[in-house]
Symmetry: C2
Subunit: 251 residues, 2 copies
């Protein structure tokens, strides 16, 4: 029994984690790693539908997704929401709470999730002992700002089909970065979530996906997506050069 616990704790340490290159600063030595392992909590597990944090909740931690997908959204009137992002393994979330010490959005698990936690109390206390931690966190926040600029472009100027294409290619690139196929993957979110995120109606999402199948760009069956013609799908995205580069990097 003791052995099992040890094994588990080893598996769950940052040192052993295959995602550490995504969520931690680069170039940490063994010492600094074990320093981090002391302050990061690895035990949290969320079942499908459970909340990680909620709008208005005080800032307790930053969170890293170890496995599963987390959906982040803004609650609006009448129980309606605006989905503002999906977080995959290796991605951090909770930055929204730093500014006013409380969360400005809500995060729930779309499937069973393992979550690592960097408690805010320890953050400022130990940040200086781990070189580059502040810089790294700012770097991640900066990336989030850039991504959200691109979302504004998406919602402001792109047609329904362009949005779907952009979305699929973005997922593709992120799967690819994690060692999965950029061509075949399963969506972890519902059509409803996708539609909401992209500022479209569910029906429009369905129709676009159907249309893209007719055009032989993709093959889709419910959650399953198979990208057949990456080249032409990229052309559909058609906006910033930066974006096109990003997409192709991921392939």
């Amino acid at each position: 029994m003791n052995k099992v616990i040890n094994l588990k704790s080893v598996q769950m340490s940052c040192t052993q984690c295959s995602l550490s290159q995504l969520c931690l600063p680069r170039g940490l030595d063994k010492n600094e790693f074990s320093q981090l392992d002391k302050i990061i909590k690895h035990e949290r597990t969320l079942k499908k539908g459970e909340q990680l944090f909620e709008l208005g909740q005080p800032f307790k931690s930053l969170y890293a997704v170890r496995s599963g997908t987390v959906k982040v959204f803004l609650p609006i009137k009448n129980g309606d929401v605006q989905v503002v992002g999906f977080h995959m393994p290796g991605e951090l979330l909770g930055f929204d709470a730093i500014g006013h010490n409380e969360h400005t959005c809500t995060a729930v698990a779309l499937e069973t999730c393992n979550i690592c936690e960097l408690p805010s109390a320890q953050l400022h206390e130990h940040a200086l002992e781990i070189p580059g931690l502040y810089e790294h966190l700012m770097s991640l926040m900066s990336d989030e700002i850039t991504e959200e600029h691109e979302m504004m472009l998406m919602l402001g100027r792109k047609s329904a089909e362009e949005r779907i294409a952009t979305f699929l290619l973005n997922l593709s690139a992120r799967y690819s970065k994690r060692g999965f196929s950029p061509h075949k993957f399963n969506l972890t979110m519902s059509r409803n979530d996708i539609a909401n995120y992209l500022g479209l109606a569910v029906e429009t999402v369905s129709r676009c996906i159907t249309h893209m199948q007719d055009e032989k760009l993709i093959e889709a069956n419910r959650k399953y997506i198979h990208i057949l013609d990456m080249e032409h799908l990229c052309e559909f995205v058609g906006t910033t050069e930066h974006e096109c580069e990003m997409m192709k990097e991921g392939v």
Copy 2:
């Protein structure tokens, strides 16, 4: 002559700046203030239309607007753009460049601007000497993330009129925070910029403003805006409670 230069440099120091409460961490002592004044450059002036930074340009500095308005946008194909923000006095910009050490958007002056500069080289070097500087910058970045979430809500779910109302009330609150009237102000950006920012056509912006005048909610003449009925305008925004609070705070 010497006297003039001295006077100028005194006027331009953070210690004397009326906006320092907006862009600097709170609770700095005299010593820390003068520390900051050493690393912050105050001399930069931009004429209308001049660039502050450009997409792809290496990260040199963070910038604070001292006077004037700066427009930030993403260049797209064919010389088209997507406006992603407007920055007023006391607001920092350039956070987009931290992640990959180069700017992911372009910033230009909408009118004559005075800009303060926090060079990136000095940032990490001196950040630890000024307590709370990192925390403060992260706090500002966090706020920017939250604001952009609200922009996604705007672009994803709101009607044209709701967008205009939200935009006007947002400006109103920001003017108010700076000691100006929340009811009467002059827009520093063109209808074109507003339309682009809000994901609308110029004509739609014009029509909405006209319509809001017919409804006696506002009075508008070109750049000049007079908000007549703040209450009903707020109702128009109609989305998150958080937003409504923010709007009313500013009044």
